[in-house]
Each structure stands twice: as C-alpha cells, then as structure tokens.
Subunit: 250 residues, 2 copies
DNA sequence: CGAGCGATTGAAAAGACTCAACCACCGTGG
DNA sequence: CCACGGTGGTTGAGTCTTTTCAATCGCTCG
C-alpha cells in the first residue's frame, strides 16, 4: 500500500493542470464538494457520513496510462473516480487486452475482488489524466457493514454489472464485428458525452474484441455511411439511431 | 408471486400424472437433510435457521426443459437447486441461445435480478429432471438483511461470478472455437463429474458460442486426438491435461 | 529534425458459418 | 410388432467474414 501511496502523492485539480505547467499539488478534494459524487454510490450521503468518508480516503493524481491495479494481485482498497476515464481489462493468453468496461467520473472501481477473496481478475489503468480517491479495504468494509444503504447500493451495482456482462458475452458470441462496433460506440457515447469518444484505435479494438485493422476499416465504413465523424483520434457520433439499427436489438 | 406458485404446483401434478411409474411426488425436502446444501450458501446454517428456511420455501419437481424464469420478466423469488442441472442463458437478436452458465446441485439461481431491481437479463431452464426449492422474494431479502453471513456469502458469490464473466468475455473475444470448446469441456467436466457430460450438441454449441456443425466437427477432432470419448450423447473426458493445453493458459 | 508510435491500406490466408442433404435413434400410434 | 414422424446428430461443399502479415504514412515529442 505504501508504495502505491508514494507513487500517487503528487496531485489533483485537473482543471488547473489542463495544459499549463504540470504543477499537480496534492490537494484533498472534499467529498462534500466532489462534483462526481452525486451520481455515485455515495450520492445520498449525509454530512457526517461525508466527513467520515473524507477522513478515510486519500486523493491522488494519475497521469495517462498509469495502472490502478493489476490482474492477479490482491486488493488493498477501492478507487473512487473523481475525474477522468479508466479502462478495466483482462489479458488473454497472448497478452492482448480485452477491455471489459470503461469507467467514468463517479464510479467506484475494484470492489469486486474485495468481496470475492480472490486476487483481481482484471486490471485497471487510466486512459487520461485522472483524479482518483482511494479508500483502504478495512475502512471500506466497515462502511459496508454499518451502512445498509451503501451496502444495498453495492449489491445493486454488482448485480447490474453481472447482468450487463451476460449481454456482453452474448454479443461477443453472436454479433458480427460490425454490430459489436456499433454497440460499443453507443456505450462509449454515453460514457464520454458531452465530449467526443477519445481512445486509441487499439483500445477501441480491444473493447470491441477485434483486430485493430478490422476496426479501422469498419470505422471508415461508418464514416462513409454518415453515422460517425472522424476527427483524427476523436470520434463523433452523428447518427445514433442508425447506429442502434446496425447494432441490432438490445 | 402467486402465479409462479400456481405454475410450479401444476408442474407437480403434471409430472405425477404423466409418468406415473416415476413417482415424483411433491415431497417437501427438508433443508436439514438436503444433500446439496453442504456446498451451498446455506451450508453453515444452524438448526433454527434451517427451520426458518424450511418454513419459507416450497419444493418442486421439474421435468426436462422446463423454464424457471424468462429474460425480461420480474423476479418473485429465488431457486435453490436440490437435484439436476439448469442452464442459464440469454437470447441474441435472432433468438439463438447463449448459455452463460450451467448450474448444478446446491446452487442458488436468480438472485441477481433480486438486487438489481431490473427484470431478468437471463433465462433459466432445466436440462434434465430437477428438484428445485423456491424461496419468495420477501423471505429471501429478509434473510439477507438479518443474516450477515448469508449476505456476505451472496456478495462473495456475485463477485466471483463477475470475475468469471470477465474471463468468459475475454475467451469469447480472443480464443478460437477449438480453444473455447476445450475450455468449456473442462468446465463441464467439473459440473458433471462424476457423471459424463450430458448435453445436446446444440446446447454445447450455445455454451461454446459456435454453430452446431462446427462443434460436431471439433468433437470429432478431439476424439481422434484421444482427448475425449463420445458415447452417443454423453461425452467422457479422457485426457484433461491435454484439454488444458489446448484451451491455453488460465 | 529524427525516432517512434499510432493509424492506414492492401493482399492473401484461415477460420467459421450457412445451406442442404442425409442418417439414426426413439417413442408413438395404428 | 412395425411403419412413421420427429428430433437430434453428422457430413460435405461453398462462401464470407475476419485475421494476419507486410508495408507505408503521418503526426507528435524530445
């Protein structure tokens, strides 16, 4: 844990660090004023709960492509995304990443392995500059134990994800790459809005579950069909309805 | 809830009347004497908890290929498998089944949707004759609320499944059908042992995520390579190590 | 300004699917 | 008891999607 903390002792306020000199000072973002919190599992916390939460957490700044945790290691706490996007992925036999989920502000990451008693089955790393708070395992489990609302929120979240993954599996097994790409773009549209989708082609391919070259060709098709606009690396969804039609039902 | 109960009561009548030879009377299997329980989430229940459980549940006999619940409907309770195998699956756009999981004795099925507040994202139906107990939603949720051990067991289970599905997704996305089949056979070997794997080719194909014809050809290959034995419908694993090698890491 | 990574394109090869036909086993009803 | 129908299993051939390999381009960053 200590190494992890050291690693991330520099700090936050993306708004300040956007382009100028990269002075990331380690400011403590109070949960009470966290803009991402309203959509999170802590959204309905009252004042004294927020104080408690503030006590037990630490805030950290992450650069692009920094790992939060790695498949196979054991969890020591959970991560609460204040700003930025994070990819959650596994590696197949040849080391190729399969992205399972792209997390955005407000999401809590890494609590699955906290309950399963197993090591992480997935890895997580930042896709861009991020501000991420960290809550130690013990504190987190205590909160779960003593706070039924939070606990139910967690169970609901676990359950929802489980359902989503069933659909994901079915899509992987039965849809063509073209359909899966359309599906993926719709999901990413939701994650990134109001911004444009901003991923490397490789990450996008690893989310869709295809080869990078295939992905590129299909993106070109979509562009020619007028459903997306390609701005170098960034993708703009032009016709979401058409995408839905391409993606098929669900 | 009532309609579901009616349905299952009917099952018993039907079963009794249809195969009179087989005498599947609707006996109440006491949880205390349930042989499947020791491996289940209720494995460590004490006497008075078992009494309570017995109170709130009903026992039902299911014929082969009977549905427990269907994608899109809302859950009214959970199913506890006393005997027999059950497939859990979703349907893709063209109605093709994708089997997500094959459950065996001792497993509790259908609790995901209980917490998510969503309708079922999957369907479940019996693969053979089954004895299945049913616990109503309210009773079940009360148990969860008041019994921390059970609750933690459930959370652990949800978490484990979530991890397994991440692996499943990666396999689907990156492995060849041949590798996936090897992987699937190993899983099924575990589920079915000490019996032989007993599924229709179509179900097996829908678990692996391929066409029935492709599956059959690959089974033949495996047989010729000496890793399995085919006894009409039943499959015997001859060389699990070799299967593991074929399946790749993990 | 050069190195290097990410993006792109083309051509060939492979894996898997679809379609169509046929077989074989099993329980049913005549 | 046997013919029948139906489901599940098997095989072959052709097609098509997708991958792989190889090469090129282009932008960004030090």
């Amino acid at each position: 844990m200590s190494s992890f903390h050291k690693m991330s002792i520099n700090c936050n306020f993306i708004s300040e660090t956007l382009d100028c000199m990269l002075e990331k000072s380690h400011k403590h973002v109070s949960c009470a004023s966290c803009s991402a919190r309203k959509d999170s599992l802590f959204g309905n916390y009252c004042d004294h709960e927020l104080d408690e939460l503030d006590e037990s957490k630490s805030c950290n700044y992450y650069k692009k492509n920094q790992p939060l945790f790695i498949e196979g290691s054991f969890p020591r706490g959970v991560f609460c995304l204040n700003g930025g996007k994070v990819k959650v992925f596994t590696r197949g036999d040849e080391g190729k990443e399969q992205i399972i989920h792209i997390a955005k502000e407000g999401e809590i990451i890494g609590f699955r392995a906290m309950f399963s008693g197993e090591p992480y089955k997935v890895s997580a790393s930042t896709l861009e500059e991020c501000n991420i708070c960290y809550i130690g395992k013990e504190d987190f489990l205590n909160m779960i134990e003593s706070n039924a609302v939070l606990r139910n929120g967690i169970m609901k979240e676990l359950s929802k994800e489980l359902g989503e993954r069933a659909v994901f599996i079915t899509n992987m097994a039965q849809k063509s790459v073209r359909e899966r790409l359309a599906f993926a773009l719709l999901i990413l549209h939701d994650v990134y809005k109001p911004e444009q989708i901003n991923l490397t082609r490789e990450d996008l391919a690893n989310f869709v579950g295809t080869a990078t070259e295939t992905l590129i060709r299909l993106l070109k098709d979509f562009k020619e069909e007028g459903v997306i606009e390609i701005h170098t690396r960034k993708l703009e969804i032009v016709d979401a309805n058409k995408l839905e039609r391409i993606a098929g039902a669900r």
